[in-house]
Subunit: 236 residues, 2 copies
């Protein structure tokens, strides 16, 4: 009997930075892959997700392909990224597509998967969830996100201010992602809403230079502009 | 030189059901623990989190202690659970406190940790995030939760209907947790808001009897009442 392999793509969440936050399933799939796809923000950049899994990848045995990550939802750039992935897999190769954190929570694997599915309906696609930066930051800060009847909102910090304000007023816990350049404005908003004391700042969660700031008022005079930073606001 | 051990407690997320979704860190800490605390809903119940990690626990070498989980926020019952944990750790034992999913996202380790901290300020407490049922259900269903400017709300299905409705109208994605007995009412609400076609039902995510229902309209005549079930509603 001949065992027929079909091409397969696994979107694998690798957690937020700490290689120990990889799941056993992620490790197994990475070990078994023929091709490891590592997204980068711009061509030539280092891939953070590839750094997280480095010790599980064997460059002599496995092909490592970096995939520049479209910065917008623009269909065309996603299509060329997805076409590249489909082509690398050929008829019988197994690929893992790495994502920092989780593949479907601001991880963009959804875009890749949707287009690959239309290009290559024969291809098996599987998604492996990972530890997200939201829960990892809460763990680093020792702040409970939600319990019992609490509601949690996860909002990109670049959303319109009225949306952010509505979430802050309405939800017991709000996580503001990618605070980067808007941290100063957000701190002013939190001050106005009386929530500064209820806010924690977490930067580069899971990485060796991770920083947790519980006295966020101290950041107001000169707010850092780190892209990989988030705020956790607990109303209670 | 004498190495002095102090008592230590690690709140460890074990993911939503599939033992392969354990993190490497969870496995290491469970292996190294003197005491494994496994929450149960009622005394005598089986512990789901203990089942998830069963192959990593050695009952001859390690003490396994089940901790009945208070069903409310009532301080007294939490205090007796936390006192029990503190007592088991003595002066120099390492304990892991298991939580299905993530310890701080409806995981209730926050309560235990807060009380243990006041009872035993000498004790080191660490929190290890886990894969949450929210992202695991999205992966099982192949539904992207959020990307770019999207906002995600995570709301217990037992929240007041006006709160749920506001989230459904306002957020690009809403995850309704623990739909259990209220599934019928929720489906009626989703029907009224024109969102039934945009909803996926996931039951017992990560367990062998996991079920994903994409045609949720089919559930309306006789809604299942499984406690460990959630709905993902994607407005776009």
């Amino acid at each position: 009997m001949t065992h027929i392999r079909t091409a397969r793509l696994s979107g694998v969440g690798v957690g937020p930075g700490d290689p120990e936050l990889l799941t056993l399933k992620a490790v197994r799939l990475i070990h078994g892959a023929d091709v490891v796809f590592a997204p980068v923000r711009r061509p030539g950049d280092r891939s953070l997700s590839l750094e997280i899994v480095a010790e599980h990848v064997d460059g002599r045995r496995q092909r490592v392909v970096t995939v520049p990550f479209p910065e917008s939802q623009d269909g065309e750039s996603w299509e060329s990224a997805a076409a590249h992935v489909a082509e690398e897999l050929g008829t019988d190769r197994h690929g893992v597509f790495l994502t920092e954190g989780d593949p479907l929570l601001f991880g963009s694997f959804g875009h890749v998967a949707a287009i690959v599915r239309t290009l290559r309906p024969d291809l098996e696609i599987e998604i492996v969830p990972g530890v997200s930066s939201v829960t990892a930051a809460a763990a680093a800060a020792g702040v409970a996100l939600a319990d019992y009847q609490d509601r949690l909102a996860v909002v990109p910090a670049t959303a319109p201010h009225d949306q952010i304000e509505r979430a802050l007023v309405d939800f017991e816990c709000v996580v503001l992602l990618k605070v980067g350049r808007v941290l100063g404005e957000l701190l002013a908003l939190l001050e106005r809403l009386g929530l500064v004391e209820r806010t924690v700042y977490v930067r580069r969660c899971g990485w060796p230079d991770q920083q947790v700031v519980t006295d966020v008022r101290a950041l107001i005079p000169s707010p850092p502009r780190d892209y990989f930073a988030l705020l956790i606001v607990r109303r209670r």
